[in-house]
């Protein structure tokens, strides 16, 4: 067993089986075995250590990294407004994507063939075409439908708008990201719902819970346990995918630094600024994910809960 993974788990398991065996045996019976020599481990340590040293040395001595420039631009208002827009794009399109995902997943499992096939078609299309194409498409939707009107289908219309006025580049970005995300989230949520034991649904029904109540109180909380890790992945991917919106002139984080380095040619320091911001935001998200997982994993005996028990 890999030592890093092994110790925590075995120690936690040992604690569960009542007490440390070493305290309950007399001292002369304790085996002090010589460890197996592991020369490979030493060599690996030296190699990796050297590589890290070279990396750090390069980071410090190579002037092109321009750490001073990085520090200078890190908190400039243009960068900060880019960060803000990246967060807005991520939060809004993730939230919309989750809602679309739930609807599409439930449709997919519907006994009505029109519903399930419509849902299948949606997922097929939005997963099957590049997001970049989808974004440019929404940005140019005005060419396809110059006017958008609200009214009765095939009947009179109550109001109409010019597409280019309603679908600004920000709206196009949000629509494109959300619809794309919805297709991926639908499959993640469907897998979560399918992971819930059928016996759970039967028990809830036998207790007189109607469909919506049992979905909300029994199925979804248990599905969450399965849904959260891949959703965390999606959020982090989304955070970085928003950088694609730079092609439709959305001044999110990457576009903001591009604007700066196109003027002063400090390309690498400004890309470092953007990368550090992305790293910072992903770190915060990962921490949030850990607590969400712990919340929805309550009552479960898992590797995570065993390790927590051992740490306490």
């Amino acid at each position: 067993m890999a030592p890093l993974l092994g110790t925590g788990l075995t120690r936690a398991l040992r604690q569960r089986h009542g007490g440390d065996p070493e305290t309950s045996t007399s001292d002369e019976w304790v085996i002090k075995a010589r460890p197996v020599p592991r020369p490979g481990r030493w060599i690996a340590t030296v190699v990796v250590g050297l590589l890290i040293a070279m990396l750090v040395h390069g980071l410090v001595t190579n002037g092109t990294f321009g750490w001073g420039t990085v520090g200078h631009y890190f908190f400039t208002s243009l960068v900060l407004s880019g960060v803000r827009l990246t967060i807005i794009l991520t939060v809004v399109s993730m939230a919309a994507g989750i809602v679309i995902g739930i609807v599409v997943a439930v449709m997919r499992m519907s006994p009505n063939p029109l519903m399930s096939n419509a849902s299948r078609l949606y997922i097929w299309f939005f997963r099957g075409t590049p997001l970049l194409v989808q974004l440019i498409f929404w940005y140019n939707i005005g060419a396809l439908y110059p006017k958008i009107s609200v009214g009765i289908p095939f009947g009179p219309s109550f109001a109409s708008f010019t597409s280019t006025h309603v679908l600004t580049s920000l709206v196009a970005a949000l629509v494109g990201l959300s619809l794309n995300e919805g297709a991926y989230m639908a499959e993640i949520i469907r897998s979560g719902i399918m992971a819930v034991d059928a016996g759970q649904i039967e028990a809830a029904r036998s207790l007189g819970m109607h469909q919506r109540l049992l979905l909300r109180r029994v199925v979804l909380p248990q599905a969450m346990r399965v849904v959260i890790p891949p959703t965390g992945n999606q959020v982090i991917t989304m955070l970085k995918t928003t950088s694609m919106c730079s092609v439709i002139a959305i001044a999110e984080l990457l576009y903001s630094v591009e604007l700066i380095y196109q003027r002063n040619f400090e390309t690498i320091p400004l890309l470092i600024v953007a990368s550090l911001w992305y790293l910072l935001m992903t770190t915060v998200l990962s921490v949030g994910q850990y607590y969400l997982e712990r919340h929805f994993g309550r009552g479960q005996i898992t590797m995570l809960s065993l390790n927590m028990q051992h740490r306490r």
């Binding site: 016996g199 759970q200 028990a203 029904r205 007189g208 819970m209 479960q300």
Partner: protein
Amino acid sequence: MSVPTTSNGHPTVGMDDEFLKVVKATKRFGTTTVFENIDLVVNRGTVSCIIGPSGAGKSTLLRCINALERLSAGRIYVNGEIIGFREHRDRHYELTDKQAALQRSKIGMVFQRFNLFPHMTVLENIVEAPIRVLRQPKAEVLERARGLLARVGLSDKETSYPAHLSGGQQQRVAIARALALQPELMLFDEPTSALDPELCGEVLDVMKQLAHQGITMIVVTHEMGFARDVADDVIFMDGGAIVERGTPGDVLERPVEERTKKFLGSVLARAPS
């Protein structure tokens, strides 16, 4: 004793009235017939054990009584009310999702695999349905839930999660959870089949205690000892039909039908009790 009792010593208060009535019940899945033309009457306050080989249709019949499955033909009445429909002037109307749910809440069911909600504590499992389905006041439900936990001997496990309980303890919580809705009828679907032999006793004891309190019970089981000691009626099912029915003495000790004899012979040979 002044109170009249049944053959197995249960009080006969309000007995002799038909509580559950199954008429010409048939269930098919596609082209396979699970059971056909079953007629069955269970009186109020009695304990009926359904025995028989696997695939006889016992569990499916139980699930139809609780409207978890719908009959292909026939009718089931519980306390005079038809299950799964609304009857009005000889016409049947499908129940809405909520009406069907309300009907199920009057019938308690205990499953072979417990099916406790793993994300809720023991106490939360028990109070969930009375509070959310019947909308009873929280304080009253909590008090009743604690009483039930005491009755099944698990007062100290209130805040435990199901995963930290033994199978026998989980099944006792499941029984308490079903009882929390104060059902008029309790259905048990092989409640001890998933348990280690040494844990069956604690579950059967709780069930015996229930039987003596006069709640109407239908138990699908392989525990012949329980059927002999507790049941008022033993029903032997095989091949989708009721083959033989009578008091435990008649069916278990002096079976008439050849198939019953054969089944009992094979069961008793495996587990001497």
